[in-house]
Structures are given as C-alpha cells and as structure tokens.
C-alpha cells in the first residue's frame, strides 16, 4: 500500500466489536484512524476520544480533538449503538427514546458535524452501520429496529443532498455478528438466529469491516444511498 494516500477516518464506538474491526482494517490500509468510545478505551495504536454520542457538546469536542490531531475527517463510520430489548408491551417510552437517541439521533449529530467539513473539501465518505433487523423487523427489538430503519431514510436523503459535493452516504446492514452485543443474547437465542441464516453461522466483525472499507475506497466511488446487506442471506428480499 506504499503509494496510497493516508486518509483521516473517524469511527464512533470503535473500541470493540465491529467498530474496532473497522479501525484495524483502516489502519492496515495506512489510514490515520481516530475512534470514539464511551466506556472502554480502544487499543493504544488508535487515537481514542472519549465521547458520548448522545451529547452534542461531546461530539463537537471529539471532532475538534480529531481535527487538531489529524485534520478534517474524510471518512466517517457511524457505528456506535445500543440495544434495550424487550417486547413492546413492556417497553417504556424511555427505553424507546434512549435507543433512538443513541442509534439514530447520534448519527445525525456526527454526520452533520463531519459533512460540514466534507462539503468544503468537496469529497467525503459516510458509512452508517444499520442492521438486518431495520428492514426485517425483530420481535423484542422494536426500538432498535426502528432506529436502524431510520438510518436508511436518513442516509438516502443525505445521498441526495450531498451528492453534488462528491460525498457518498451508504448503509451497511449486518446480520448477526459475533460481538459482545450478540454474546449477551444467550446460546439458545443465538442458535435460533443462526438456524435462520442461509449461511448457517454468524459473521465475524472483520467480514463487516471489509465491506465498510470497500465503501470508503476508490472502487465504491459511484455507490451512494445504498444499503449493503452483510447478513449471510438472512434479510434477502428486503
């Protein structure tokens, strides 16, 4: 990768799971990688910025720190997210709005901040991590699925708004991935999940990171507003 230009990449929620796999992938490509984290810091090789993406002032401070360290963000991966699963009848309004705030409104916060600079640079890549359940639905995850579906409409609107500035906005929709978030589901629920997947297994985080890196790379220059499933076939047809 000797002659490749080193790009400035910011990944939210980059200290573990899919976010960390993305950070590693971009670092391997020679990019300058910054990650935000909320609780556990990322490995030392990454520029970590503590940031609660539900707080606008913390998002602003995180971007300021990254710009100070590396310069303006050229590739944004909005990945941070939470779950608060329960059936609708037991779901409080707070359970619903907190998940939407962390998964959807947080994407609004970071994308708004990043694209202001990308517009001036007249280039940029935005990749939002959604989920197969955004389009497929998932019993017990109405809040999470709603937030992940919301990202699709958000991304596609921005693809239209920002296309003239050479900024692409795409969505990656993973199926079940082996991360802390899915480990919390328990063995029985995991078996149910993998039984429903045509490829009969969960993904590893690197398989998601590869698609994210592709969308950020030169081969994806003409792709915008796309929802790329990386789900072993689970969401086919959606």
């Amino acid at each position: 990768m000797g002659c490749r230009v080193s790009r400035v990449v910011l990944i939210t929620g980059g200290s573990r799971g899919i976010g960390l796999a993305c950070a590693r992938r971009f670092a391997d490509l020679g990019d300058r990688v910054a990650v935000t984290y909320n609780s556990s810091p990322p490995p030392a090789e990454f520029f970590g910025v503590k940031c609660d993406v539900t707080k606008t002032d913390e998002v602003e401070a995180a971007f300021a720190a990254v710009e100070e360290h590396f310069g303006p963000v050229e590739i944004l991966v909005s990945n941070a997210g939470i779950t608060k699963d329960t059936l609708l009848l037991r779901m409080s309004e707070d359970d619903f709005s907190r998940v939407v705030d962390a998964n959807l409104t947080a994407a609004f916060r970071v994308v708004k901040r990043a694209t202001a600079k990308m517009m001036k640079a007249r280039q940029g890549r935005v990749i939002l991590l959604s989920s197969v359940v955004g389009l497929l639905g998932s019993a017990g995850q109405a809040n999470y699925a709603a937030s992940k579906a919301g990202l699709v409409g958000f991304a596609r609107s921005l693809a239209r708004e920002l296309g003239s500035r050479n900024i692409t906005v795409n969505v990656v929709a993973p199926g079940p991935v082996a991360t802390d978030m899915t480990a919390a589901l328990g063995d029985e629920r995991m078996k149910e999940l993998t039984d429903a997947v045509p490829l009969q297994r969960v993904a590893n985080a690197e398989e998601i990171a590869g698609v994210v890196a592709f969308l950020a790379g030169p081969d994806a220059a003409y792709i915008t507003g796309a929802v790329i499933p990386v789900d072993g076939g689970l969401g086919m047809g959606h």
Partner: protein
C-alpha cells in the same frame, strides 16, 4: 452601508462560492449570475454568520434571498 463590511462580505462570498470578487455586486443574483445552488447558499450563510459573529439565521429568512444586495442587507440588519 459600510464599505469595510461589504468588503468582508465579498471576501466570504468569493471564498465560499468560488466566484471572482468583481462579480459580487449588489445586483448580482445568486442563482442566475453566480450559479449557486441551495447547498452553496447554506454554506455561504454559515460562513457569513461566522465572519460577522452572528447567531444562526433561520432558514426561512435566507431561503428567499435572491441577490447579493438582499443578503448583505440581511446581514447588516443582524449586526
């Protein structure tokens, strides 16, 4: 209208909209003469807010601007 403020305004217009300074005259129309689209206008207004230290100008106030003169008068009225 102060010449100094208008010069600052022209400087921002030229940098943000990528047009020659001498094209930024009061009569110039953003869309027809300066070839601005709606995104250009938003970034222009944001840069003007920053240059003149103004708080956020509501969308409905700037979206009806059609000429440089109207935009300059709006900014001056906010100072």
């Amino acid at each position: 209208m102060s010449q100094e403020n208008f010069d600052r305004f022209v400087k921002v217009a030229s940098a943000t909209l990528g047009v020659e300074s001498d094209k930024v005259v009061r009569e110039a129309r953003f869309k027809e003469d300066l070839e601005c689209d709606s995104l250009d206008m938003v970034t222009f207004v944001m840069d003007l807010e920053e240059e003149f230290g103004l708080s956020e100008i509501p969308t409905e106030e700037y979206e009806k601007l059609s000429t440089v003169g109207e935009a300059f008068d709006l900014i001056m009225a906010k100072l």
